[in-house]
Symmetry: C2
Subunit: 104 residues, 2 copies
């Protein structure tokens, strides 16, 4: 498995709008085992994205998917920058990510 934990910074006040675009564009990605989005609790415009993939190749391939390309194009103006990024090898755990893709 291949994992990514990464931080993205939205333009001021645009965090939830950016989250909605990310959620919309990442629902059907082959090889993606989980995709979670969270607001940073301390930094007002920061977003954490946690991804689990069956392989690094699946992650790479996802970047060419039309839905992902569309999300990148739509989201780009709302992105101020990127923060930490950690590559991982997920090895276990339990539980289900939130099923809903709505921002609440």
């Amino acid at each position: 498995m291949y994992g990514l934990i990464g931080k993205m910074r939205a333009q001021p006040g645009q965090r939830d709008a950016l989250i909605a675009i990310l959620l919309e564009g990442t629902t059907a990605m082959p090889g993606c085992l989980s995709y979670g989005i969270a607001r940073d609790k301390l930094e007002a415009d920061a977003i954490w994205i946690t991804e689990t993939w069956d392989s690094q190749a699946s992650h790479k391939a996802s970047l060419s998917l039309p839905s992902v390309q569309a999300a990148i194009a739509k989201g780009r103006p709302l992105i101020a920058g990127f923060g930490e990024r950690f590559e991982t090898e997920p090895v276990g755990g339990h539980g289900m990510m939130a099923k809903s893709s709505s921002v609440s």
Copy 2:
């Protein structure tokens, strides 16, 4: 919801032993929606733990569970230290964490 993304460093060569203890001690925690463990790809002894809880109170309460206390006692000698720790508010996503709790 309440989320945590945190890094732990095992004593040299003890990463998988520590992961096994963590997985064993965290299977039945009330309010825990997901618990994922991953090896850092660059740092040989580093572990990432990604947690989703229904509330911060549930997370706090989990630290007093006998199973968690036992895992802490058993794991402590294998822990070299802690790295980054980010508190989050999970807002959406999809997918299931790995069902298996075995280290592979």
